[in-house]
């Protein structure tokens, strides 16, 4: 059944085909113009990740949720499918972004050998995963918000929640600074270099898991 639901959303998203191609071309041009190759994956990942969530709008406009609940499925599968789609979009966005960056950078180097761009693959991977993490955070907040308040209101509530998180984060940072902790920066940088990526990926998994649990709890009791 999840496969059927995924197909439904992918067919709906196919109307974005032209937009995605234009965005990818635009990103390519931006990379050529600015040579800021690390931004490509972040931008593409963000756009693809956000487009995936627009399937909630299609469902809301057609009032599809009621009909879907009448099909041989249950609320758990319906929520699960949305997360599979969201996570898939983030991964696809990351891969597309890396591929586009490599293709564009190599194309520039081919046509303009006098001013070569050196691709730092490690740095490219780090920024891509960083970008994916950012999109995951937004999705992890946005999906339960949509289940709670609907596709339109949920977007506004998501920004409120995101802002609240930033304020809390900044508050914690401020308190740490006030507490005068002595942090050995060298140790910290070494730790980040060693475990940063693993930590980011682990955090992404935890965020999605917690978000899924919250979404299911909301949707389980929601009246359609």
């Amino acid at each position: 059944m999840i496969k059927g639901l995924l197909k439904k959303d992918l067919y709906n998203l196919s109307s974005y085909k032209a937009s995605i191609i234009i965005i990818v071309l635009f990103c390519g041009i931006a990379i050529v113009g600015t040579e800021a190759i690390n931004w490509g994956p972040i931008i593409i990942c963000t756009i693809v990740g956000m487009i995936a969530l627009s399937t909630f709008n299609y469902d809301e406009i057609a009032k599809s949720n009621k009909y879907i609940l009448a099909l041989p499925t249950n609320r758990k599968e319906i929520v699960k499918e949305k997360y599979i789609l969201a996570i898939g979009a983030v991964i696809l966005g990351g891969i597309l972004g890396i591929l586009l960056t490599i293709i564009v950078a190599n194309a520039i180097n081919y046509f303009r050998p006098e001013n070569m761009i050196n691709i730092n693959y490690e740095s490219l991977l780090t920024t891509t995963i960083g970008g994916m993490w950012g999109v995951s955070l937004i999705q992890a907040i946005q999906i339960p918000s949509i289940y709670k308040w609907g596709a339109e209101k949920g977007r506004i509530q998501m920004f409120v929640l995101l802002f609240a998180l930033i304020v809390i984060g900044a508050g914690i940072g401020f308190l740490i600074a006030q507490a005068n902790f002595s942090i050995d920066m060298e140790v910290l940088i070494e730790f980040i270099n060693k475990f940063g990526l693993i930590l980011l990926v682990a955090l992404m998994i935890v965020m999605y898991y917690v978000s899924y649990k919250i979404s299911y709890k909301i949707y389980k009791n929601k009246e359609e």
Binding site: M1, K3, G4, K7, K8, Y11, N12, S15, Y58, D59, I61, A62, K63, S64, N65, K66, Y67, L69, A70, L71, P72, T73, N74, N221, E223, E224
Partner: protein, 285 residues
């Protein structure tokens, strides 16, 4: 006779509306019409049966608890909901591809034949369909996996008489193909039910008014047209509701033969389901 649906004391409360103790059965081989005004509770009843809304009471479908065996049961149900379907940005071809992975028994050949029979284009976006075409697509999607039970919420509302007849014909054929099948059909166009339904369940303001065989309703019920004097002779037990018109009284009875014998009244009209419904809603007691 086995029942495909058994509802016992189904209740559901919303802000400003309560569906209270709805109980009825949908026997195999029969079409049950669910009637009532807009907002009477027909859609809430259907949503409770399909577990779309969390209602109290017991719903048994094919002899199984509708909540415990939800997925298994729904594989054998075809559903048409008045205001809800897949997105308008899909095509009939997309619907086929999706449903192949939704229903275990999806019959692609049957679906394509139904599209041809209904003259529905495969590659046109649903948003460009007329309301009649959309309803035909919903029905084709609901029956293409050969379900044992069809649940239809207002399948003929907003359609012209030609399309309505086509749909009713198709429902008749569907039930004739297999005697274990049944249909629960909610509508406020009661004339549709007079020709195809076997039972009528009438809901008013969230409460069940009656659950009767259509034949019994159409043959035993009558509208007595009488003077004030004749009306005053009637025992309250012998009629259901009355309406005071300009020159006469109109009285609804559920036993017109008794009225004829007991009061020697001969002017008793055969009511339509709509007449009966209107008496219950607007009549006095």
């Amino acid at each position: 006779m086995e029942n495909n649906i058994e509802l016992k004391n189904v209740s559901k409360s919303y802000k400003g509306f309560t569906l209270k103790n709805i109980s009825f059965n949908v026997p195999q081989g029969s079409i049950v019409g669910l009637i009532g005004e807009n907002g009477a509770g027909k859609t809430t009843t259907i949503k409770s049966i399909l577990n779309i809304t969390n209602a109290e009471g017991s719903v048994t479908i094919f002899g199984k608890d509708s909540k415990k065996a939800e997925k298994e049961i729904k594989n054998d149900i075809g559903v048409v909901l008045d205001d809800s379907f897949l997105s308008d940005y899909l095509t009939a071809k997309h619907v086929n591809s999706i449903m192949k992975d939704v229903y275990k028994t999806w019959n692609e050949g049957k679906y394509i034949n139904l599209l041809k029979q209904f003259d529905l284009p495969k590659d046109k976006l649903i948003k460009d369909f007329s309301s009649g075409m959309k309803m035909k697509l919903k029905i084709a999607t609901a029956i293409a996996h050969n379900p044992k039970l069809l649940i239809l919420d207002e399948p003929t509302s907003g359609l012209d008489p030609v399309v309505r007849n086509e749909i009713l014909d198709m429902l008749r054929k569907y039930i004739e193909e297999d005697e274990t099948r049944s249909i629960l059909l909610s509508t406020h166009i009661t004339s549709d039910l007079e020709h195809i339904s076997d039972y009528i369940v009438f809901i008013e303001k969230g409460k069940m008014v009656f659950d009767l065989p259509t034949n019994e309703l159409l043959e035993n019920y009558g509208i007595i047209k009488c003077s004030k004097e004749d009306f005053s002779r009637l025992d309250e037990k012998d009629y259901i509701k009355y309406k005071k018109e300009k020159y006469q009284y109109e009285v609804l009875t559920s036993n017109k033969d008794t009225i004829r014998r007991k009061y020697n009244i001969t002017t008793i009209d055969k009511p339509s389901i709509e007449d009966i419904m209107l008496f219950y809603i607007k009549g006095e007691r």
